[in-house]
């Protein structure tokens, strides 16, 4: 059984990485290479293992335990898909981390970070392959505790302190960015997905998705989180927090897909729910990849400019052209623009949502429409949901893929032709940017991120409740202003209107209840007397039954 030793290899590699980074934690360079190279190796194992399970059969292995507590691993196709997602993201992020760690040489204890990093990934993989509820919860807790420590890894930074304090807030967007960039890439790229995994396991396997209103609930939840996520992402100045908010938005989209799939399953059209589920899972894979890419980009921006505030960034494309190109591709993909993967998954999702309005009899016409009778009928099937009790429809994703091919087919040659002939024939002078007659245009005239998102901010102003503060400092005479200080604060409606009031109520209620413990012994005796009388009445009145 080659599966076993691949699975063992996967786990052992992570453990080696963790141990080695502890052993060498004094020597930064060695610790970095050990821990992250072993993570890369382990992720390769992960990819091989997951593919072998997806296209092979499920793998289960139970460890010995007392008759009461039995632990073991159970990797069916769904878990294997998640392991694939995790390993792909880890593969990329680990290679990146080797470079990124240079920033921490000498400053931070790299061995400790390497150890946490490896155990964190191992716990995520175990979460996805646990075979019973107790094991699942144990490893889930391990994952969140380690992510808690990873978040407060750089605890001298002010916002890290705020992020780490309230343990329940680990997943909130201002916790992820506080972690080192390579870790936050994993966190919002992959860790949130384990929550989706739990969602699917509970709703599809455990409860059998029989109830219709659960689907609508998940659907609504997805819509709300998508909307609020992107709304806050648009106006967020901190680049990593913006990415974290956009993770929430994408999680919302994935939940939309899952909700739609549950609705279809409940209303009795398994083929449709398969399409919706595929859309959700495919988007999940895309998102973990391009979110990882974007976070790595943000990390390298942070690495070179040491600032996360987008307002101060500008003109990076000239200094880091390759990184800018990669970041652009990531952005294109996340905003689902055609040639990239984001578009494919969102297209599929929109199709499934559209079909939900439609009665099932047109299904066959759609099926033919999908497969497409054209010459390019190369079906690239993602039939990996066989296990989840849904028919594995070999939905060919040819339509969007072909579209991207055509687009590339047209745009690449034209770009090359264009750049080639512009340099040769026409002359072009280089002159300063048109400033409508202004003599000198400085960088400060440019539109910063906050200005760019100003219209959106105005549109949602009763949700954001933006508080703007304009402080002018004057020179000698009140007429001549020396400088303006502009301060903008956006309301976090969830925190402000739901979370804080609830905690205030609880604390104030408990302050009032505190007076039960008055300190006078007579009151305490009266309590006992009262309970006795109440119980007596309970017996006399009700107790005769």
């Amino acid at each position: 059984m080659i599966y076993n030793n691949i699975f063992y290899g996967l786990i052992i590699f992570f453990l080696i990485g963790a141990m080695l980074s502890i052993v060498f934690n004094k020597k930064d360079r060695l610790a970095t290479y050990c821990s992250f190279l072993s993570a890369v190796g382990a992720s390769v194992f992960g990819i091989i293992f997951s593919l072998s399970v997806i296209f092979g059969e499920t793998f289960s292995l139970s460890l010995s335990g007392s008759s009461f507590l039995k632990f073991g691993f159970f990797v069916d196709r769904l878990s294997a898909f998640f392991i694939l997602v995790i390993s792909v993201a880890v593969f990329a992020v680990s290679i990146y981390s080797i470079g990124y760690m240079r920033e921490y040489y000498g400053k931070k204890n790299i061995g400790y970070l390497g150890f946490l990093y490896n155990i964190f990934i191992l716990s995520m993989i175990l979460v996805v392959s646990a075979n019973n509820a107790i094991m699942f919860l144990i490893v889930w807790q391990l994952m969140s505790v380690i992510s808690f420590f990873l978040v407060i890894f750089e605890h001298e930074k002010p916002e890290t302190r705020k992020a780490g304090i309230v343990p329940l807030h680990i997943w909130l967007p201002y916790a992820h960015p506080a972690a080192p960039s390579n870790v936050s890439a994993l966190m919002s790229g992959v860790m949130i997905k384990t929550a989706i995994y739990m969602f699917i396991r509970v709703f599809f396997d455990f409860l059998g998705a029989g109830v219709l209103w659960w689907g609508f609930l998940v659907f609504a939840l997805g819509a709300i989180s998508a909307l609020t996520g992107i709304m806050y992402a648009v106006v967020e100045p901190d680049i990593k927090r913006m990415l974290a908010f956009s993770s929430i938005e994408n999680i919302g989209i994935i939940l939309l897909g899952i909700g739609a799939s549950m609705i279809f399953l409940a209303s009795g059209s398994p083929a449709l729910s398969a399409i919706a589920a595929i859309a959700a899972l495919y988007h999940l894979l895309n998102h973990s990849i391009f979110k990882g890419l974007l976070f790595i980009g943000a990390g390298s921006i942070l690495f070179s400019t040491h600032t996360k505030n987008i307002e101060e960034l500008g003109g990076l494309i000239k200094k880091m052209p390759v990184m800018a190109l990669l970041f652009l591709i990531g952005v294109l993909s996340i905003s689902a623009l055609p040639p990239f993967s984001g578009f494919v998954s969102e297209w599929l999702l929109l199709q499934s949502l559209l079909l939900s309005f439609n009665s099932t009899d047109t299904l066959d016409r759609i099926a033919t429409d999908f497969t497409g009778a054209g010459a390019f009928d190369r079906s690239f099937s993602f039939g990996f949901l066989g296990n989840a009790g849904m028919p594995s429809t070999a939905i060919s994703l040819s339509t969007p893929v072909i579209l991207s091919l055509i687009l590339l087919f047209i745009s690449i040659p034209s770009v090359i032709w264009y750049i080639k002939n512009i340099n040769t024939r026409g002359k072009h002078q280089v002159y300063e940017t048109w400033g409508c007659g202004q003599p000198v245009l400085t960088a400060r005239n440019e539109y910063t991120a906050c200005a760019f998102s100003k219209p959106a901010q105005m549109w949602f102003k009763n949700i954001f409740r933006p508080e703007r503060e304009l402080r002018a400092s004057y020179t000698v005479s009140p007429l001549i202003k020396e400088s303006f200080k502009f301060e903008l604060h956006i309301e976090q409606i969830f925190e402000r209107y739901i979370y804080l009031p609830v905690t205030d109520i609880i604390v104030s209620r408990s302050r009032t209840i505190k007076y039960i413990q008055t300190g006078s012994i007579h009151a305490y005796l009266a309590y006992i007397f009262g309970t006795m009388v109440i119980l007596m009445l309970y017996i006399i009145l009700g107790g005769s039954s």
Binding site: G65, S66, S67, F68, L69, F71, A133, I134, L137, I138, V139, W140, Q141, L142, V145, I152, G164, I165, V166, P167, L168, I506, V507, R509, S510, R511, I513, K514, I516, Q517, I521, A523, Y524, L525, Y527, I528, G530, T531, M532, L535, M536, Y538, I539, G543, S544, S545
Partner: protein, 484 residues
């Protein structure tokens, strides 16, 4: 066999009383507690083999449930005596107490052990006498430091518990009366063995009245709400090893009394009457613990209210009934005893180092006392029921029982309270554990003994979270059979 177990602590306490120097007292006490532990384990092994042992014209007896209690008492007692060597030694070095007080402490400590062991092994309803004696001895232990607050706490403890126990006596009398109707006035009308055999023929109305008085009486000792008012004062004012014993073992002995009568009463009054009462008191204790934990300023009182919470959980477990419910409750008694005493020892170390009980002026414990700090944080995670630790397993079983027995509302409330308590408790402890330490607190642990004691308990907390040894599982299943 049982007589030696009871005799040993009495002898040791007499010996301790007549020793002279601190070194002698500590060595005698240590030797004594080792002997008690061995005897306790021997008894458990014997009960594991022979199911039931009865001696002394069946005034003393030991079935698997009492063996379970003896096991808890002897383990926590042994670890507490280890800890008190370190703790009291530290107090002695700093001149807080002199030799006479130290000798008094150790002798009372072992008598306290004796009384708790007696609770476990008395066959007849003389259980009441044993629990009454525990109250008296622990009250004396509390006034070791003649501070104002500890005297006040001792007085309140004494009065409220004695009132509670008087009610329990009334319940015992009523049960005896119901038993006499059936068994006649023979001597053994009070013994568990004969009572359980014939429990279903008792008159239900008398048994209801009896169960109520027992529940109020022993509930006061166990710290179930609204009779829990003495608990925070007693735990925070008594010396830490005594606090650990109080919270670790004494509440379990009281719960032992309640569960014994529960099994007798529920046979005649029907399980839902007694079960509902247990659930009501369980939820009440959980509910009252939540606000006090969230806004607590004194970390010892924080642990006290967590005891109220866990006793509520055990009562809930029993109330839910079914194999799962009772199994979870019994396992929870063991897990809670281990984790709570671990936390008390941690709190004791912090108190010795920072000399203040305010959560507000204690920070950076992980930095000043790395080992204690780490164990304290792990203990907190365990106590609030987070997965890899033992308490999670028992709470999970009780939850499963709650759902399967159909008490949905109670279980959902139970879950809600636990989450709130987790948030409040972890928030308070993280204020103490993390952050920059206060100036003027030099780094370094209190003493090796304390760490050794905490280490033993840590083993139990972690191991039982992942793997439950076979004999332990069999023993608990036997206890479940007895209770059902």
């Amino acid at each position: 066999m049982i007589e030696y177990l009871l005799l040993a602590p009495v002898l040791i306490s007499i010996l301790c009383f007549f020793t002279k120097t601190r070194k002698q007292v500590e060595s005698v006490s240590l030797a004594g507690s080792v002997v008690t532990l061995l005897l306790g384990l021997l008894l458990v092994v014997e009960v594991y083999k022979y199911e039931i042992i009865v001696t002394w014209q069946n005034a003393l007896f030991a079935d698997s449930f009492s063996a379970f209690i003896v096991l808890i008492v002897s383990i926590v007692g042994f670890v507490a005596s280890l800890y008190s060597i370190g703790y009291m030694g530290h107090e002695y070095d700093h001149g807080v107490i002199e030799v006479k007080k130290l000798r008094l402490y150790y002798s009372l400590f072992h008598i306290f052990m004796f009384t708790m062991l007696l609770v476990g092994v008395t066959n007849n309803l003389g259980l009441w006498i044993a629990i009454e004696m525990t109250t008296l001895v622990s009250a004396l232990l509390m006034i070791l430091y003649s501070r104002k607050s500890s005297v006040e706490a001792a007085w309140k403890y004494m009065i409220i518990c004695t009132v509670g126990i008087t009610f329990a006596l009334f319940g015992t009398i009523l049960t005896y009366y119901a038993a006499v109707d059936i068994l006649g006035e023979t001597g053994d009308a009070l013994n568990w063995t004969s009572l359980i055999a014939v429990a279903d023929q008792f008159d239900p109305t008398i048994m209801k009245l009896a169960f109520i008085f027992i529940l109020i009486g022993y509930g006061t000792k166990a710290g179930l709400a609204p009779m829990h008012t003495w608990l925070p004062d007693a735990y925070s004012e008594s010396p830490t090893p005594v606090g650990a014993l109080l919270s670790g073992t004494l509440v379990n002995c009281a719960m032992y009394g309640i569960i014994r009568f529960y099994s007798i009463a529920s046979k005649s009054t029907g399980a839902d009457f007694t079960g509902n009462l247990m659930i009501i008191f369980g939820l009440l204790s959980l509910g009252i613990a939540v606000p006090f934990i969230i806004i607590q300023e004194d970390y010892k009182r924080l642990l006290a209210y967590s005891s109220v919470e866990h006793m509520g959980i055990i009562a809930l477990g029993i109330g839910f009934g079914g194999v799962f419910g009772i199994f979870g409750a019994i396992l929870h008694m063991f897990n809670h005893a281990m984790t709570k005493s671990l936390m008390f020892f941690g709190a004791g170390n912090i108190l010795l180092k920072h000399d203040t009980k305010e959560i507000f002026n204690v920070t950076g414990v992980v930095k000043t006392m790395p080992v204690t700090g780490a164990m304290f944080v792990v203990g907190t995670l365990a106590l609030t029921g987070s997965p890899p630790f033992s308490i999670f397993i028992s709470e999970f079983t009780i939850l499963a029982a709650g759902f399967s027995q159909g008490h949905i509302v109670a279980t959902v409330l139970f879950l809600l309270f636990i989450i709130m308590i987790f948030a409040g408790f972890f928030n308070n402890v993280s204020k103490m554990a993390f952050g920059m330490p206060k100036p003027g607190i030099e780094k370094g642990e209190v003493s090796r003994w304390t760490l050794f004691a905490m280490g033993i308990l840590m083993v139990f907390v972690i191991v039982l979270g992942v793997y439950i040894p076979e004999p332990f599982y069999v023993m608990i299943m036997r206890v479940v059979e007895i209770v059902r």
